[in-house]
């Protein structure tokens, strides 16, 4: 992992949906009038039509880009057998933050390893706030570093910037997977994420539900979480990893601890956490042993006593005094400050908490960045921001605001074909077999498939980030850190 010379990014392996009819934005219809002239097959560059045994089929309706198509088949069809309309399912998907466009384009990235060619708004949602109000400023006429080959653009990130003897860890993409616990998601989901992290030379966090033995082969790519419930945290799990994350709060629900409803506490989960089957599991909202910064330092010292080389990440939400929290964490010995904003959260976080507590991440990150800079310690600590990062453009924006890297969450699940139905917490029944511990539903997804999907999505992210950097005239993602001048906020444009 430290041997970057040997590291190669994996290749994209096309990985289509695991369901029979993938959802697309448009739907093509072919009438009986079709004469099988094959014109549409030749014309369509998205591979919507196929010809088989003398008949033409619309095999991949979901790939159709609708009116964005430069040469629409339905206009060209000599007999007018083709018609195109919006897929009625499409508008039922998602919400303002995760628009149907974003969901479908993420699925597309997970399938193909590239951003969608046309027809989908893949850069932002339409929440009317947050990243959706920010734009990256691309000056017209600016060609940037167009002539530099993609592989020479550096998007890697050094995680240990303290001068101590902790592991020297470089991740090859500026993001890693945020915590999702065993119990809240299935083991296949966890394995997919971790195997993808390994392939991409980065990390993935276990969440607070323990450290299943299945993950042992990937120890070097695991961040284990020490959260307020201390579920599944044992000395050996801390010793096993290179990064330990303290979860003080979650951006989606600051002031509330983790919560696993009784129905999700299956025998497997109960065994992992040592709890009682069928009883809901609450994590307390604070660490009962940490009520102030000197307690926090003691807490960090403790982890270092168990695993002296481990990097310590401190995950906090974004209260108004987040800057002081960050600097306090740094002085207590943290290597990584992980700011968790409020746009994230799956269905398990209460709506009222998701929408009303904590400072928006786009305010918190610059605040922390400036404060740490003024304190003279900005280059000694890695700032990771997370919570509602959906697209490579979100990544670029948050880094330009002052983070070093990004932590992903919901986007991973979307790559695994989450449809954002917001029923993660209800019983065992994730309709897509992602956030479930039900043995039958879990089988809806295999981790080999999941791994490829995630690798594809993140490769697409990386490719897009490189494109953005080149356009901005930068050769390294580190140049982008804190470059607020590269951004514009639609409400405050001059």
């Amino acid at each position: 992992m430290n041997n970057s010379a040997k590291f190669r990014f994996p290749e994209v392996v096309k990985t289509p949906s695991r369901f029979r009819n993938p959802i697309g934005k448009y739907r093509l219809h072919r009438t009986e009038a079709c004469e099988t002239c094959g014109k549409c097959v030749d014309l369509c560059k998205y591979g919507v039509h196929v010809i088989r045994r003398g008949r033409v089929y619309i095999e991949n309706s979901y790939l159709c880009v609708g009116p964005d198509c430069p040469s629409p088949c339905y206009e060209v069809c000599p007999v007018g057998a083709l018609s195109c309309g919006k897929n009625p399912v499409f508008d039922q998907l998602g919400d303002f933050r995760w628009t149907p466009d974003l969901l479908v384009s993420t699925w597309r990235m997970a399938e193909t390893g590239s951003v969608p060619l046309a027809g989908l708004e893949y850069k932002r949602g339409s929440s009317g706030g947050g990243f959706d109000k920010l734009r990256i400023v691309m000056k017209s006429g600016q060609t940037g570093q167009a002539d530099i080959p993609d592989q020479d653009i550096d998007v890697s990130l050094q995680l240990n910037r303290r001068d101590d003897h902790g592991h020297r860890i470089k991740i090859h993409v500026p993001f890693y997977g945020g915590g999702m616990s065993y119990g809240s998601v299935s083991i296949n989901t966890i394995l997919s994420r971790i195997k993808a992290a390994k392939a991409l030379g980065t990390f993935c966090c276990t969440g607070e539900g323990g450290y299943p033995d299945e993950l042992k082969p990937y120890d070097d790519h695991v961040i284990t979480q020490v959260a307020t419930g201390l579920f599944g945290v044992r000395e050996e799990t801390i010793k096993r990893v290179k990064i330990v994350e303290f979860k003080y709060a979650q951006g989606a629900k600051p002031g509330l601890g983790g919560h696993l409803l009784g129905d999700k506490v299956t025998p497997g989960v109960a065994r992992m956490r040592g709890a009682v089957v069928g009883h809901p599991l609450f994590s307390p909202f604070p660490f009962h042993s940490v009520y102030s910064v000197e307690d926090h330092k003691k807490h960090v010292d403790w982890i270092k006593a168990i695993n002296p080389q481990a990097l310590v990440s401190v995950k906090v939400s974004t209260p108004t005094d987040v800057d002081m929290v960050a600097v306090g964490s740094y002085y207590a010995g943290a290597h990584i400050i992980h700011l968790d904003g409020s746009y994230g959260g799956t269905g398990a976080a209460p709506e009222i908490a998701k929408k009303n507590i904590a400072m928006p991440i786009e305010y918190a990150v610059p605040k922390v960045h400036r404060f740490l800079t003024a304190e003279g310690v900005r280059d000694k600590v890695t700032v990771i921001a997370g919570g509602g990062v959906r697209t490579p453009h979100d990544v670029a924006k948050i880094i330009a605001l002052g983070a070093d890297g990004v932590c992903t969450g919901t986007a991973d699940l979307v790559a695994l074909e989450c449809i954002r139905c917001h029923n993660c917490e209800s019983g065992r029944g994730c309709a897509r077999g992602i956030a479930t511990t039900d043995p039958e539903l879990m089988e809806l997804m295999q981790h080999e498939w999941g791994t490829r999907r995630l690798v594809n999505m993140f490769l697409a992210w990386k490719k897009e980030l490189v494109r953005i950097l080149k356009r901005l005239g930068m050769t390294s993602i580190r140049e982008l850190v804190g470059r607020e001048d590269c951004l514009v906020h639609l409400d405050y444009m001059k």
Binding site: G229, V233, E235, K239, H279, S283, V293, D301, I306, G376
Partner: protein, 880 residues
């Protein structure tokens, strides 16, 4: 009368209006820095030197970060200050920190000369160059000290213009001094702007000093090593913000006659500030501690509340504790709460206050904990010719203070008579204790008393005498050197018999005999390993167990034994030497370089922890983990001063490892252990046994906050009490006996399965030892209002023959009678408990009022509410 008092109060408050009316109205009050801290304080019946606050402060380094330290000293010998006794007693010590050159003249001209008669003034001596003090980066302020009284005509004008005629002259003078200092600060100090000077303190017979640095550097810089005072408090600050922070932001803060230090922070700083503003009080230094001092002063001086009511206003009595109060108190407390709840600090806090109670001519050291008990706190009382009352955030600071005191004055022992925790906002002790120093005739020596919030005093057993090394103990002429018949115990390898012999000896002998005998044992111990084992085992029993000490003070006996054990351990061969025979090897800070694995028949690694740092790469617990990897399996650690993390970092499956801990053990001990056995010989501190997976932990004393948080398993025996929040979020199969009780929140969110099928449980015996070493039940086995809240698994077995635990204490739990299977489950634990601590099942636990009872009638089981009760089948719409 009542009306006029009310009028007085309101006049005082009105008189302050002119001070604050031109200050900016802010919509939101925020502290400019946050952070936690370490606090320590002690009161002594004789004035003692400032150097004794040095060591406890130094040991709390890891609770501060060197960006704010301060001390307060109270109760002086007038000769040390160069004034007459009358001036010291009656004058105000106005102490001003000067941050700019030349500011003094202006300040004197504007605020001192016109108003005060200055009896004496001087610049405080200090070290010439602050850089001579290691680690001190910011030059401390120059401090000027004035002994002042308000000029009579000025005071009269003040009284007349503000309608304060109803006040006693002294009250008016107090108020004048208070307001004048406010004006000084207002003019010369802007928290966020130019800072030229500020008032450190302005009360009688005490002063405050604070710097940007560590508290003990105050002592060094202002040369207080030899300066004597009755009460010392110190504060290490850990602000998170700012490379350079100003000394005025450091603690202690002053009201008028009280200095307050604080550990924790408030969640409602804004609302407390708003509340104070209604009383025309306005914080000037933007920290929550300052508002605490203002609150305290408001209640005690302006409103004239007795201390009990001040404490109630700060830490209200809630819930079940409130219901347990007598009706009369409930009425008053309700009124206090209704009036002052908006000013009640919310959030984790613990105050230590040094107060000159001038009305009653008493000096006081007060510790108050918040209702939720979120900060660690320990009180201790040392009685004897020199009495000391101590209150600290950690026990290690108490130990350090006593050690420091005893080195100078052997009348002070290294062990206190009593150690205890306060239960915040409770009906039992009110969460606060007051050490009072009463005048004792004309001499400097005062008499120390200790009482809780309600005034019930804390006393030690009478009729026992401490060991006084100054006294000469003669050997009788016919006594031979070998007068102790102990050889046989070593020959027979019977430490238990040696223990009994010594126990009897304590009754028959005087201190000199005991000392001689211990000396002889020491001689034996160093002869051979087998003898060493016998000696150590017997002495450790003497240290751990409770037995009558007759005319001797237990603390003196313990001190001798602890010293003997230390001397024996120090005498063992060092790890440096290669050719020694025997299984024991010692390592200390100096010889740590020679660290190696065991060779030949070396078996036990003895670690002298005294000089190791408390945490970090070079701490002794890290060394132990390394030693484990190199093959050591048996450890004895001694000489500790709060070093942390012992037993951590060994990794999984450490069966066969045994650690014995002597001395002031530190936080996080045995956190995460898996399989090893740890003996703590004495009281333990906070956060023990967190996430512990398996193994055995035995504590011969009390244990601190959040004990076994998130534990997964293990077998644990606690001889005494646990402080707040033991076993929160514990899962799996932890099995714990607590022989005393807990402050509150025992086993919240306990999830440890079904105890009858391999799950976990807690046995709460609710007993204590008296001075004779016999076991007595406590008034109630569990005083807290929250027992087993929100638990979904496991059980608590409470020894509660009188059914004192009631439903009010449960939230999601239910009380069930014990059945035979439960008894069979807990019996083996109780047997081991009997073996370890001498708490007999037959004679102590099952004995109720001298009658032996059936266990099923003595113990009760608290278990999670059975699901069937809550979840009906959904059909019933109406029940009758």
């Amino acid at each position: 009368m009542i009306m006029s008092e009310h009028q007085n109060i309101s006049n005082i408050i009105t008189s302050r209006k002119s001070l604050v009316k031109d200050l900016p109205q802010r919509s939101c009050f925020e502290t400019v820095a946050e952070g936690g801290c370490g606090v320590t304080g002690f009161a002594c019946s004789i004035p003692v030197r400032g150097k004794h606050i040095f060591e406890p402060s130094r040991q709390m380094h890891n609770r501060g970060n060197g960006r704010g330290g301060g001390i307060a000293a109270m109760g002086f010998d007038h000769r040390m200050l160069g004034v007459s006794e009358d001036i010291l007693e009656n004058g105000y010590i106005l102490q001003i920190a000067l941050l700019e050159d030349g500011v003094l003249d202006e300040l004197e001209r504007l605020f001192i000369e016109p108003f005060f008669n200055v009896d004496f003034s001087e610049a405080l001596p200090h070290v010439d160059d602050y850089r001579d003090i290691r680690g001190l980066d910011v030059r401390p302020p120059d401090v000027w000290r004035f002994f002042v009284r308000v000029k009579p005509d000025v005071l009269k004008a003040f009284v007349d213009s503000n309608g304060l005629n109803g006040l006693r002259p002294r009250q008016a003078e107090d108020e004048f001094v208070f307001q004048n200092s406010f004006k000084i600060n207002k003019m010369f100090y802007e928290a966020a702007g130019r800072q030229r000077a500020f008032v450190l303190s302005h009360g009688r017979n005490f002063f405050i000093l604070k710097i940007v640095g560590y508290a003990e550097q105050v002592v060094q810089y202002y040369k207080l090593d030899d300066f004597k005072a009755h009460i010392w408090i110190a504060h290490q600050r850990y602000p998170t913000k700012g490379r350079v922070w100003h000394p005025a932001g450091a603690h202690p803060f002053v009201g008028l006659n009280e200095a307050l230090v604080h550990n924790g922070d408030f969640a409602n700083y804004h609302s407390v500030t708003e509340y104070l503003r209604q009383k025309n009080l306005y914080p000037q230094f933007l920290t929550d501690t300052e508002v605490s001092a203002l609150l305290f002063d408001l209640y005690s001086r302006t409103y004239g509340y007795p201390l009990e009511y001040v404490i109630e206003a700060l830490a209200p009595t809630m819930e079940r504790d409130f219901n347990k109060l007598p009706a009369e108190k409930q009425k008053i407390y309700r009124a206090i709460q209704a009036t002052h709840i908006h000013g009640s600090p919310d959030g984790p806090w613990f105050f230590i206050i040094a107060r000159n109670n001038t009305e009653n001519d008493r000096l006081e050291l007060i510790g108050i904990t918040d209702t939720a008990m979120l900060r660690p706190q320990v009180f201790a009382l040392h009685d004897g010719q020199v009495q000391v009352g101590l209150v600290c955030s950690e026990k290690q600071a108490i130990d350090a203070t006593l050690k420091s005191l005893s080195e100078e004055d052997p009348r002070v022992g290294t062990v206190a008579d009593l150690y205890w925790n306060a239960r915040g906002g409770s009906y039992t002790d009110g969460g606060a204790f007051v050490f009072g120093l009463e005048k004792n005739g004309g001499s400097l020596e005062r008499r120390l008393t200790c009482a809780d919030k309600f005034g019930s005093s804390v006393t030690v057993q009478e009729g026992q005498f401490p060991y006084l090394p100054g006294r000469v103990y003669y050997l009788m002429e016919d006594e031979s050197r070998e007068r102790f018949d102990i050889a046989r115990f070593f020959d027979l390898q019977r430490p238990d018999l040696l223990f009994t012999y010594l126990k009897d000896g304590i009754r028959l002998w005087d201190y000199a005999d005991l000392m001689d005998c211990l000396k002889e044992i020491r001689g034996w111990a160093l002869k051979a390993d087998a003898h060493f084992d016998v000696a150590l085992d017997a002495l450790t029993l003497l240290l751990d167990r409770r037995y009558p000490t007759y005319d001797k003070k237990r603390r003196s006996v313990l001190q001798m034994i602890a010293q003997t054990i230390e001397t024996i351990l120090r005498g063992l061969p060092s790890l440096m030497t290669q050719n020694e025979k025997g299984a024991y090897r010692k390592i200390d800070w100096e010889t740590r370089e020679f660290f190696r694995g065991p060779v030949h028949n070396e078996k036990v690694l003895i670690i002298d922890g005294s000089l190791f740092p408390p945490e970090g790469d070079h701490c002794d617990s890290r060394l132990m983990a390394e030693a484990y990897l190199r093959g050591w399996r048996r450890f004895i650690v001694f000489g500790l001063k709060g070093q942390r993390f012992h037993g951590c970092g060994f990794g999984p499956d450490c069966g066969g490892v045994r650690i014995d801990i002597y001395g002031s053990s530190g936080d996080y001990l045995a956190s995460g252990i898996d399989g090893m056995t740890v003996y703590v010989h004495g009281n333990a501190q906070d956060q023990l046994g967190q996430i512990m997976k398996s193994g055995k932990l035995i504590i011969y004393g009390d244990v601190g906050q959040t004990f076994m948080y998130g534990a997964k398993g293990g077998e644990v025996y606690v001889m005494g009490n646990a402080a707040g929040r033991p076993l929160i979020n514990a899962v799996g199969s932890p099995r714990v006996i607590i022989n005393g009780t807990c402050l509150d929140y025992l086993a919240e969110s306990f999830m440890a399965g079904d105890p009858l099928n391999g799950g976990g449980f807690v046995i709460l015996n609710g007993v204590e030892f008296d001075n004779e070493g016999t076991v007595h039940p406590l008034d109630t086995p569990y005083p807290g209002a929250n027992l087993f809240s929100l638990a979904s698994g496991g059980a608590i077995y409470v020894r509660d023959p009188y059914n004192l635990i009631d439903d009010q204490q449960l939230n999601g739990g239910e009380i069930a009678p014990l059945d035979q299977r439960d008894w069979e489950l807990i019996l083996p634990m109780l047997e081991e408990n009997q073996r370890l601590f001498g708490i007999s099942i037959e004679n102590d636990l099952l004995m109720v009022n001298a009658v032996k009872k059936n266990p099923l009638d003595v113990y009760r089981k608290v278990r999670p509410q059975q699901k069937d009760d809550i979840a009906k089948d959904g059909l019933e719409e109406w029940e009758d």
